[in-house]
């Protein structure tokens, strides 16, 4: 197998070609630094991504608070987590970095807030 990647680690956007069989890497061409090599190794073995999404807020100056996983999670869970955010709800106020959900899918996936939401008094 052969796959081409664009490294997403830094703005250099190295175009890296990887030759591999099953999950064993045979050759990496085009990475300008070790980070790029590490990135493609991960991409073949277990690609990780930061999830970003939204969660409903009640009584806030925004209807939604944006959330993310504090660390990258396995790519395969992204859609599941997306679905789960539909049924979450949090009460304003919300601070940046506040934990919104813990241990989703029993996979130690947490969500933290990335928006400040003020409480509005009706």
């Amino acid at each position: 197998m052969e796959r081409k990647f664009v490294c997403i680690i830094c703005p250099n956007s190295c175009q890296i070609k990887v030759e591999y069989e099953n999950k064993t890497i045979k050759k990496i061409i085009g990475a300008q630094c070790p980070k790029g090599e590490a990135f493609v190794k991960n991409e073949i073995a277990n690609p990780l991504r930061v999830f970003v999404g939204s969660v409903k807020v009640t009584n806030g100056n925004f209807k939604l608070v944006s959330v993310k996983t504090p660390i990258p999670i396995p790519k395969k869970y992204l859609k599941h987590i997306g679905k789960l955010t539909h049924s979450l709800e949090v009460e304003a106020p919300v601070a940046i970095g506040q934990t919104i959900a813990l241990n989703l899918l029993n996979e130690k996936i947490d969500l933290v807030a990335t928006r400040k939401v003020n409480k509005i008094i009706n």
Partner: protein, 494 residues
């Protein structure tokens, strides 16, 4: 809701500019009137999809109804717009010749116009054309000072609102299925919303007037749809022309040629093309015609660039002249010979807008001859539209905000439409909730960003006012939901 036992003296089928003008004209008399309109709002057919020109009347063969009613309509249009608080500007028009042989055509048009009693027509030379319209390419022109512009949809809405206020009932979303002449000589009109009965039926169904006529009298008329496409230009290009710029019309086509229309709102329209099509509801624009519009623009106004285009749309003419023949047949405004009290309006294409009021008067005359209608002493000819904040001077603007802070919130940034105006448009007398109706009434979403800034805000205002679910917000009519629902589960309606 089923409507039963709905009897009216007159049922008007079709809420276009002509149907609404008839409704208003009839409401000057003691009669009960209903307008049945198949769409969610008035004016969604031909009436909102034309150049908005109040023609002077020199294009039409002398002695025809089209010539006669157009001139009559042109002369009384300012008063009508004043009564109804509808914008109107007599900006004049030039028909531009680019070849020597076209000058002969200009002279013919002038002579025809004079015969039709159009005032002020002059042939001008290239120097005078240059003075009037420095950016137009041409060697001579016919100048018509009496040609004016209006807002065709605002006029239709205003006529409807004034008619409503004077007692006319409007049934929107009401599509006529069939019509039966009963033994007592009344009509029974079956619709998707139930039955109506009436003594008179006025067939003002525009593109579908042949179908409606066919319901009582087989195969008498046929309407051929003839589409015209337009481009709308950014207001930043409005300085390029001062008046309506027309080419010399070509014989045997379905329209007056691609022309350039300054609109009431300071955009320029380029178009319409003319193309006979098969389906009466095919409002597509096409790449072929877009190219043609560009070519025509280059011929007359090379300063206009495709960068200036902010939107394209099309309208459809209701033509009686078949594609093989082209050109124009005269308006039909008459009671059916075989079905008493059934009045047909057929082939009302251009200049239908200019002629709407005189057409309405003709229809009332037909009924009056038979019924001796007595005047409605409560008739009020006046109607107020939505006050345009942007058009007011600074002192008035200040006073308005002080009186109502909703004037202090600009919702549509391009057209500078305030929250107050949008709320008034949402709370319109006909109770129409579609986004396009709010657009027509308020001008919001008509500017260069096409709702990029204000759409979400208007959705929220609309939901608040009518307690709508997200999926109930429609752009234009049935099955035109803008949103598929909430992003996340939510049962609460705000």
């Amino acid at each position: 809701m089923k409507i039963t036992n709905n009897h009216y003296d007159v049922v008007i089928i079709g809420g276009g500019v002509v149907g609404c003008a008839i409704a208003r004209e009839l409401s000057k008399y003691k009669t009960s009137i209903a307008v049945l309109e198949k769409e969610d709002d008035v004016g969604w057919g031909i009436s909102c999809r034309n150049s908005g020109v109040v023609h002077a009347g020199f294009n039409y063969k002398s002695g025809t109804l089209r010539a006669q009613l157009c001139v009559e309509g042109n002369q009384s249009f300012a008063k009508l717009c004043q009564e109804l608080d509808v914008p109107y500007k007599k900006i004049g028009k030039v028909v531009v010749a680019q070849k020597k042989e076209e000058i002969r055509e200009l002279k013919k048009l002038k002579a025809q116009g004079e015969k039709n009693k159009v005032e002020g027509l002059q042939i001008i030379d290239s120097a005078e054309l240059k003075r009037l319209e420095p950016n137009v390419k041409g060697i001579a022109a016919l100048y018509s000072p009496e040609t004016a512009i209006t807002s065709p949809y605002l006029l239709t809405i205003a006529l409807a609102e004034n008619a409503l206020r004077n007692g006319v009932s409007f049934f929107l979303n009401t599509k006529v299925k069939n019509i039966v002449k009963l033994k007592n000589s009344d009509f029974r009109i079956n619709t998707n919303k139930g039955e109506f009965t009436s003594s008179y039926v006025i067939n003002s169904a525009g593109l579908y007037s042949d179908k409606v006529a066919h319901m009582v009298e087989k195969d008498k008329y046929r309407i051929y749809p003839c589409r015209g496409e337009y481009h709308v230009l950014d207001k930043n290009a409005s300085w390029i022309i001062n008046r309506l710029i027309y080419p010399v019309p070509k014989a045997g086509t379905g329209g007056l040629g691609v022309h350039f229309t300054p609109t009431i709102d300071k955009n320029i329209l380029i178009g319409p093309s003319n193309e006979y099509i098969k389906q009466k509801d095919n409002l597509s624009t096409t790449s072929q015609i877009m190219k043609l519009l560009s070519t025509e623009t280059q011929k007359f106004l090379p300063l206009i660039s495709s960068r200036d285009i902010i939107r394209s749309y099309s309208g459809i003419r209701a033509k009686q002249a078949p594609p093989s023949e082209g050109g124009y047949w005269d308006f039909v405004i008459e009671e059916s010979n075989s079905v008493n009290n059934f009045i047909n309006l057929i082939g009302i294409e251009s200049p239908g807008l200019a002629s709407a009021q005189p057409i309405a008067k003709r229809v009332v005359e037909i009924i009056n001859k038979k019924e001796k209608l007595s005047p409605n002493s409560n008739f009020n000819p006046l109607r107020k539209g939505i006050l345009r904040f942007e058009e007011q001077d600074k002192a008035t603007q200040k006073a308005l905000i002080e009186k109502d802070p909703d004037y202090g919130e600009i919702i549509c940034r391009c057209e500078k439409v305030t929250k107050k105006e949008i709320l008034e448009a949402i709370d319109n007398p006909l109770g129409v909730k579609d986004l396009i109706s709010i657009k027509y009434r308020s001008r919001a979403m008509m500017g260069r960003c096409q709702g990029g800034y204000c759409l979400t805000r208007i959705i929220e205002l609309l939901r608040e006012k009518y307690h709508l679910n997200p999926q109930d917000i429609t752009l234009k009519g049935e099955h035109s939901s803008l949103l598929t629902g909430y992003r996340s589960d939510e049962v609460k309606i705000c």
